[in-house]
Point group: C2
Chain length 600, copies 2
Amino acid sequence: MKNQSLTEQLKGSTLFPSSRKIYVEGSRPDIRVPMREISLSPFTDKQGVNHPNEPIYVYDTSGVYTDPSYTINIKEGLPKLRQQWIAERADVEERSNLSSEYGQIRQADTKLDAIRYPNVNTRPLRAKADKVPTQYFYAKQGLITPEMEYVAIRENQNLGRMNEGRATKIESYITPEFVRQEIAAGRAMIPCNINHPECEPMIIGSKFRVKINANIGNSALSSGIQEEIDKAVWAMIWGSDTVMDLSTGDNIHETREWIIRNSPVPIGTVPLYQALEKVNGKVEDLTWEIYRDTLIEQAEQGVDYFTIHAGLLRDHVELTNKRMTGIVSRGGAIMAKWSMIHDQENFLYTHFDEICEILAAYDVAVSLGDGLRPGSVYDANDEAQFAELRVLGELTHKARAAHVQVLIEGPGHVPVHKIKENVELQQEVCDNAPFYVLGPLTTDIAPGYDHITSAIGGAIIGAHGVAMLCYVTQKEHLGLPNREDVKQAVITYKLAAHAADLAKGFPGAQLHDDAMSKARFEFRWEDQFALALDPQTAIQFHDETLPNDENKKTHFCSMCGDNFCSMKSSHEIRNMKSGKQHGPCQHRNEAVEETINAQE
Amino acid sequence: MKNQSLTEQLKGSTLFPSSRKIYVEGSRPDIRVPMREISLSPFTDKQGVNHPNEPIYVYDTSGVYTDPSYTINIKEGLPKLRQQWIAERADVEERSNLSSEYGQIRQADTKLDAIRYPNVNTRPLRAKADKVPTQYFYAKQGLITPEMEYVAIRENQNLGRMNEGRATKIESYITPEFVRQEIAAGRAMIPCNINHPECEPMIIGSKFRVKINANIGNSALSSGIQEEIDKAVWAMIWGSDTVMDLSTGDNIHETREWIIRNSPVPIGTVPLYQALEKVNGKVEDLTWEIYRDTLIEQAEQGVDYFTIHAGLLRDHVELTNKRMTGIVSRGGAIMAKWSMIHDQENFLYTHFDEICEILAAYDVAVSLGDGLRPGSVYDANDEAQFAELRVLGELTHKARAAHVQVLIEGPGHVPVHKIKENVELQQEVCDNAPFYVLGPLTTDIAPGYDHITSAIGGAIIGAHGVAMLCYVTQKEHLGLPNREDVKQAVITYKLAAHAADLAKGFPGAQLHDDAMSKARFEFRWEDQFALALDPQTAIQFHDETLPNDENKKTHFCSMCGDNFCSMKSSHEIRNMKSGKQHGPCQHRNEAVEETINAQE
């Protein structure tokens, strides 16, 4: 498959120069948390004395795809790192067969063998009777799971110095117990279905690093299985923390299986899309039973979170009549239409307790969809949007009562001055459940650049405490993103999320910036490239102006040239002042120390 | 010249589909304010009845380059639209020769004839004795100049409906008298040298549209005259409100002449760069006399604003020792080095009164440079930066006393949570003089994407009241931007500035967004492209997925396909509710009316 060639490509690749994958071990040997270590070269002063620069450790979402010791075989799937942890808790049991009718039909259909993932597990896990295998339930019981310890180590990652004396002190901010408390309070969640043991745990909550999600998925018009797997892996390599598979075309059951088995990051879906496919796109034919079967089908494949548009009530539809752009959420439009056709309340709302029961049995998190999110600046923060948000608050409490982990979805298109109100209202009515927003886009006039109109909103809303940003690609409003679009959007959202982490004062976040700035001041060009979110683009841009390798050692750059290099002058000025011939190295290490101390 | 081919290219171009250039006449026939009118197609309802959509008028910085009735000849330069206005005020006189020694030497050098602009005006204008030809002085005297009326009409531009009954009512916000008051208070300025009569007046101030500046200029290492002119015109076509020529290589005097004679937007420079070239890059050889001669040389060519790093005092240099990245402003580094070498105060500070005298004689605005702007997140808002800012406040008052128009320059690299403090302190110490900032970049870790890291900061700081944003290209920190980089950065900054205008509630700004959103909801694809900041990119992205023209009429798009199109469903839902078969058109025109009313 094409994906194999992607992973083959990655093997010998120099996507991330000066980097190696390391694992930090937790309290037991099977807790091994991945990080990317970026080695930095020393600063050489005028006397030729080398002053070392410590490596930087960065958060690593790429799984074994960037582990040279591991041989990728997408037909076998990824290592099941959580299998033992799940088994040890002894609260789940294997089913004798797939529980969903649809899953059974697809499995029995030999015509699908050619495109089917070859090792489908037909004995999925489910909670034992009266047991609740959710991280939220464990946290409330006071249990610190391996997943919680894993994310605690992972969140501290970028602080670097993990193997040194400082680690203990720095870890005092995000400890496993702190993680447990945040989850128990419903302020954070770890999306990790018991049927997705390949998932490397990650946490979503306002007190943790801002996360990003990449949407992939074929529509009826375009794209195939291979391309979607490629895009998913590509998104993870560049830093996507979760991936949503929004496929609506053919064979979405089989596509999903391939993706989950090969995904080290949590996978989210909107089950309603597949339910609609099952009734041939006829909204009027949708039923609770078909939807319910779809939830079970996907839960047993290992989907980690479901977007469920249960908050859009029949009475809300009328509120959208004043809008510029009506209903722009696919799921929202489907349920609004269903309600209108049948003159009945949204069945996702009326069956919400049963939904929660299913979700709890697999530890699938609910991501309460915002079917009435604004699709234009004009519609931002309107009555329809906030009416639905208040219902999401009500549903948050219901889900929590069923021990289900909760995310709340948010907009959309929101101008800069209306962003804060969204976060404040969400935190109030949803009791600080983690907020997960799309962008938001801060203007409507730049199609082709909506990764940027929305990264502006993303950085601002992240700084206000939003826990995860769903990316928007430059193709938004125009077409389906290709692999390069996915990469551009992931990098754009990584930088927006990081800007938000800095604004939140997230411990250690600034170390990465400081390492980059120190490398700039010391003219360590190779280190600047290695520290960049996208090293190859940085190298390419540099080489366009100054192509040869010698120019990666110059103490100036092509932007200003030798005489006009301000940093070069700064060095000269410092030497003049001190009367000594020392470099800036000592000062700079002090600066990094100060950053650490200030954030502790 | 290559530039000619650019303008030739533009002639038959479809860069801006459905658009035509119009001029709105003011109180006298030679006040003709350019706008781009975008025609929109009607919405056709299910009964086949057409509901018209009014055209949208957008701010147009492209000068006659997009006027099909005008034949560009860069050897003759642009029409001198301000010549008469300047003459009428009878406060300036022609010099008998160029006043600067350097200007005379270059003019006499026949070796330069081959690269020289052929019609250099060797009889530049200067103030008559005891006269002050600055817009600031006029405003304080209560005089409304044609320039002020011009910008008043221009600022109201995007409100549309300029030729209809609404115009008067809308204009009550930004009237010529309001413009005069803002300039008289020092809160706004119109950069327009009396020797740049080709300049189409524009205003910079917190109560007006947020403006953007594009930097161009060759360094000693790269780029030539033709390429720089090309880049300047290209930047204006995409929406740059001013252009700074930061050339530091050969023949910068001649390059500048070509650019100014062909520029409909104000041109800024940093005279110190050329002064340093004159002493062969040896900072120690810089003198006040050489700098002074450079000011006069450039003022007589028609430069509209000078960046002058007069606020960086000798005592500030020590404050940069604690920094991560020292001094990153080229001008700042030069003056700091000069001060240290000579153990003297910055001569731009000690000679500031004489500088102001020269500037006032030509109505060159001073842009007080921030030589100590932070070059890293670590250095943001530090003692050095704010110590210099306080001196800029002192200099603001000195410049105002000399009737010189003032801009204040700001950072740089600033994380999201430290942005607001910059604006608050600047407004306080500089008595609300317009603030002009570079970005700011909100993180250091994304070289190759710094147009985005900085557009985030730009939108936020613009919303806080910054009047003009200096763009940052994706090549920042890496190399010199090419033409495509310039375009990308201009579009990125246009959208950031527009996001800030929306946040400020600038009258009429949202009409553009509303027109786009209405076009989206009504599936008017061609109108969506025409309304986009970059129509060709939008079309290209659309056509990648759905290439043929038929697909520009579909009532869904490739992102979701037919069954999953939420907007299509929205229409169906509305029809179901009302029981009538009407389209959304009526509602939508009401929505646009509401936007106008809310902002009035």
